[in-house]
């Protein structure tokens, strides 16, 4: 009987696979167009489904008539989701769905549905709190210390108002699924960040046992926090399938509907005052914030961000309910907003006391969580060095020449503790290895890093590991959200593979060491014999630790297990991280921009991101995560905004032409520095999806302000916002 193996990671210098820059394993599939996404699934006899949605922001359905649609050729099912009497609370609200033999016929059928509405009053904008009226609800006040006295007595007080608008996730693959409901069996191909729990999410509504719902997803075209649950369309597509006699139905949202109802990031606005000393030390914080995330209002971002120990705080928050699609989690929910508001206010305080903001940041990192303070100091210095701050930074508005150059700083924090995860590692007598997890690869490289951990643990090359993910018949994993996947799957894979290896050691031990592994060294006659203490798997061999020449090849060793196979599971429990994983990542980023004060056009010259994430499994993929997060952030900082029209209640840009994303020429040069010092490495694996995505609006906003000499308060940094600020029209 083997005892519990020591699961801890091998020391840095002994790792052969972990820490290597392997190319992503699914790269050839993706770059050849062979990767099949759920939206690419075309099972035989499949019907195409489309939604009819509300054109109104607020209305009551008074009548709906689907009879003409049902009679059209090729129409196999019609399902009403908003019967007469339904109150519609946002544009894009689902009214009915149809399934037909072709997409064109489905669109004819949607047009043939007659709906009458009683249009009701709406509010769709929250940027001007004074106009929100009764739709604005006080959502709490928090006071620490004695802010009133501190602000009265302070050597310096800065103040400003800042805003970051609603943005949409704009996943390239829209939300949806192909689904087939026959009898009491359901087969689904969804686009989801949660393969394991998609079926339970649907089972209740369909009244089908979750065990009868088979879920399969090989690839997902973006989620960013917006694709966890089966959503209303999962159920609607299933009902269409049932009504159509069990034919598979494809229901993916069209782009406009995606932009309207399938996820957005809440806005955040705030008036912020900072009190402090002339030496740059902050002594008090006062913020009045407001936000919307749709009808339910909008939560308060965590202010003051990271520097949560600032004494003498007064915070109030107001939630504004608007008639627009509900918000969803977006890569570090509320952290981007909090970072933008906090770093903007801190930068204005530095200007108020006439200091270099880098010095003010450095001084006030003492208010960050204690265990991260040193990391922030280190990362700030590294970012200053990489951005050539000392040479390039000039006080606000002192950039010479017609085009103004400016630099700005932002910082970030995130948890990233590995989630609940189970892995099964199977070793066969022929030496082949199968690793199975019910997880998903969002494009972060999950397939690759799991394989690296298994290969490292078993002492095998990457090519010797076969991996199965993306199916709910596999050992249960959790949702890929909150940067929790890498920690979860790495720990469970490590444990399952070590458990399997321990079994293999027991099988092969006698051939290498005789019947008693302790042999002459046995000191305690009662100790259980465990070959795992004496054997190791290295370079495709099982060998005796003290005598590596005494070894068997992997294949020869596996033959010793006889005709059976070894199949062991391993579990990650986030409540017992056990040294393999940790939480708490930090990052400091610096933007270097040019702004033309005549046109208001902002260009990113260079962007520096310093980021830690504990032990790095694959630096190539880790860097890609940071590049991607920064590019997404540049896009939100410069271009992205859900534009709402108060008169009609409609979104003016539910598309990809006027809802503008950054292109390949819009991002400048990006410098990524992974902070992989030994003190970070020894903490274990920490998630990386969110941390580098937080600080970009903050850094770019401060850089633009530094360039033009006045605060440009509103994201995105469009020519309109820049020129308004220069003209003193921030209102």
């Amino acid at each position: 009987m083997a005892k519990t193996p020591d699961y801890s990671w091998p020391p840095m210098e002994r790792r052969k696979v972990i820490g290597q820059r392997f190319k992503r394993l699914d790269g050839p599939q993706k770059s050849s167009g062979r990767a099949k996404y759920s939206s690419d699934t075309n099972p035989k006899g499949m019907l195409f489904a489309l939604y009819l949605t509300s054109p109104h922001a607020h209305a009551r359905v008074t009548s709906i008539d689907t009879s003409a649609a049902e009679k059209l050729p090729g129409v196999k099912a019609v399902h009403v989701t908003a019967p007469a009497g339904t109150e519609v609370q946002w544009q894009g609200f689902e009214i009915a769905a149809v399934a037909a033999t072709t997409e064109e016929l489905a669109s004819d059928a949607v047009r043939a549905i007659k709906v009458e509405y009683e249009v009701l009053p709406h509010l769709v904008r929250e940027d001007d709190l004074a106009k929100a009226g009764s739709r604005a609800k006080a959502a709490g006040e928090k006071v620490t210390g004695d802010p009133d006295k501190i602000f009265q007595d302070a050597e310096a007080v800065s103040e400003g108002q800042y805003g970051i608008p609603v943005a949409t996730h704009c996943c390239l693959e829209t939300h949806g699924q192909v689904i087939q409901w026959q009898g009491d069996q359901v087969m689904a191909w969804p686009s989801t960040q949660d393969v394991t729990r998609w079926a339970p999410g649907l089972a209740t509504n369909l009244k089908v046992p979750a065990t009868n719902i088979k879920v399969s997803m090989d690839y997902i075209g973006g989620g960013f926090g917006s694709k966890f649950a089966p959503d209303a369309w999962g159920e609607v597509a299933a009902r269409l399938s049932q009504k159509a006699g069990g034919a598979p139905v494809k229901l993916f949202l069209d782009r406009a509907t995606e932009q309207l109802i399938a996820g957005n990031r809440p806005s955040a606005f705030a008036k912020i005052r900072i009190a402090g000393n002339k030496d740059g030390t902050v002594t008090g914080w006062h913020s009045e914030s407001w936000a919307t995330g749709g009808l339910a209002g909008g939560g308060s971002p965590p202010l003051p961000y990271v520097l949560s120990d600032i004494p003498n705080q007064r915070l109030t928050h107001t939630a504004v309910s608007v008639n627009a699609g509900p918000n969803r989690a977006w890569r570090a929910p509320n952290n981007q907003q909090a970072a933008y508001l906090t770093c903007s206010a801190l930068d204005d305080f530095a200007a108020k006391v006439g200091m270099d903001p880098a010095d003010v940041y450095d001084k006030n990192f003492m208010y960050a969580p204690k265990e991260r303070v040193e990391t922030y100091h280190y990362q700030l210095q590294k970012a200053l060095e990489l951005s050539d701050w000392k040479k390039l930074w000039k006080p606000r508005g002192q950039s010479a020449g017609p085009v103004k150059r400016g630099l700005g700083i932002g910082f970030s924090a995130w948890g990233g503790l590995g989630h609940q995860s189970q892995c099964r590692t199977t070793i066969n007598p022929d030496g082949s290895v199968l690793v199975e997890l019910g997880t998903q690869d969002l494009g972060t490289g999950t397939r690759t890093i799991i394989t690296q951990v298994a290969a490292e643990t078993l002492g095998l090359p990457m090519t010797a590991i076969k991996l199965a993910i993306g199916n709910n018949s596999l050992p249960p994993d959790s949702a890929s959200g909150g940067s929790t996947t890498v920690g979860g799957v790495c720990a469970s894979t490590r444990k399952a593979s070590m458990n399997a290896l321990a079994k293999l050691f027991e099988a092969v031990g006698p051939a290498l060491m005789g019947s008693d592994p302790h042999g002459a060294t046995r000191t305690d006659p009662a100790a259980e014999s465990s070959f795992a203490d004496f054997l190791e798997a290295v370079d495709g061999h099982i060998q005796v630790k003290d005598n590596p020449a005494n070894s068997l090849t992997w294949t020869a060793a596996c033959r010793k297990m006889g005709s059976g196979k070894i199949s062991e599971t391993g579990e990650n429990n986030p409540r017992q991280p056990g040294g393999l994983i940790a939480q708490g990542a930090a990052g400091v980023q610096i933007a270097d921009v040019s702004v033309d004060p005549e046109t208001g056009v902002v260009r990113v010259n260079r962007y520096v991101a310093v980021q830690d994430c504990g032990m790095v499994i694959n630096p190539r993929l880790a860097e890609s995560q940071v590049y991607g997060a920064v590019i997404m952030g540049i896009s939100t900082a410069l271009f992205e905004q859900r534009v709402m029209d108060e008169r009609t209640g409609r979104m003016l840009n539910p598309d990809m032409e006027f809802y503008k994303l950054a292109g390949i020429g819009d991002i400048g040069e990006i410098v990524v520095h992974m902070d992989i010092r030994p003190e970070n490495d020894k903490r274990g694996v920490i998630g990386l999806g969110e941390p580098p995505a937080v600080a970009i609006c903050a850094a770019i906003g401060n850089a633009v302000t530094n360039a033009v000499g006045v605060r440009v308060p509103n994201i995105p940094m469009t020519p309109r916002h820049v020129l308004n600020a220069l003209a003193g029209r921030n209102a």
Binding site: G27, S32, Y37, L172, Y219, D655, G663
Partner: protein, 213 residues
């Protein structure tokens, strides 16, 4: 952002154009089962000048092979590929000629296949990503995208690869600024542009080196 895509306005069907002739060529050549309706196509009358309403026979020359379909004239080339031929490399993302995820090459020019009607793509050479690889070896552009990690979720990648292939066919020696301009018609949400830049330059080198398949 700039786009180098050619606008594809619907052309009037050519008079005297014989769909039956094309259909004759196509019979027996289709490797894909979906949507191949040779009998229906032969039975349909050849319209003169105006196609539809209702399905009409359409022949598309895709990656060197004629494909016979029966399509409503309003079906886009993208939807013909994805929904009728199960060629799903080209993706439908914006569906409005903005993002480039549906990029294919039409008579040597990169186009947004969501903005081209299938009937207007007849008689032209249609190159899709499915035609790029030869056997198991990746096309140099695809290989360069892999080598430089120019992909995350990968949904934009086939469109980017085709846009890069079309760009390099016309600009075999690009510099970085030309790459940024030439690939400006494609959008990525995960943020893979740093890898794409390097990939296109690497692919240019590889293709000059005679390793092109």
């Amino acid at each position: 952002m700039s786009s180098k895509k050619h606008s594809e306005f619907p052309n009037k069907p050519k008079r005297g154009f014989s769909r039956r002739g094309f259909i004759g060529v196509g019979i027996g050549s289709g490797a894909l089962g979906t949507g191949l309706l040779e009998k229906d196509a032969e039975a349909a009358p050849a319209p003169a000048g105006i196609a539809g309403p209702g399905a009409v026979p359409v022949t598309l020359n895709i990656n060197g092979k004629p494909m016979n379909l029966n399509l409503e004239p309003r079906v886009t080339l993208l939807d013909a590929l994805r929904n009728h031929l199960d060629l799903t490399g080209a993706k439908r993302v914006c569906d409005r000629g903005t993002c480039g995820a549906c990029t294919v090459i039409l008579d040597g020019k990169t186009v947004y296949s969501c903005s081209v009607l299938a009937i207007d793509a007849q008689g032209k050479n249609i190159e899709t990503i499915e035609g790029l690889a030869t056997g198991n070896s990746l096309h140099p552009v695809s290989a360069a995208f892999w080598n430089n990690d120019a992909q995350q979720c990968g949904y934009c990648t086939p469109g980017f690869v085709m846009a890069a292939k079309g760009f390099l066919d016309e600009h075999p020696n690009p510099n970085m600024e030309e790459v940024k301009h030439g690939l400006g018609g494609n959008l990525c949400r995960c943020g893979t542009y740093m890898g794409v830049r390097r990939a296109v330059l690497e692919a240019a080198q590889q293709m000059k080196g005679g390793q092109r398949g």
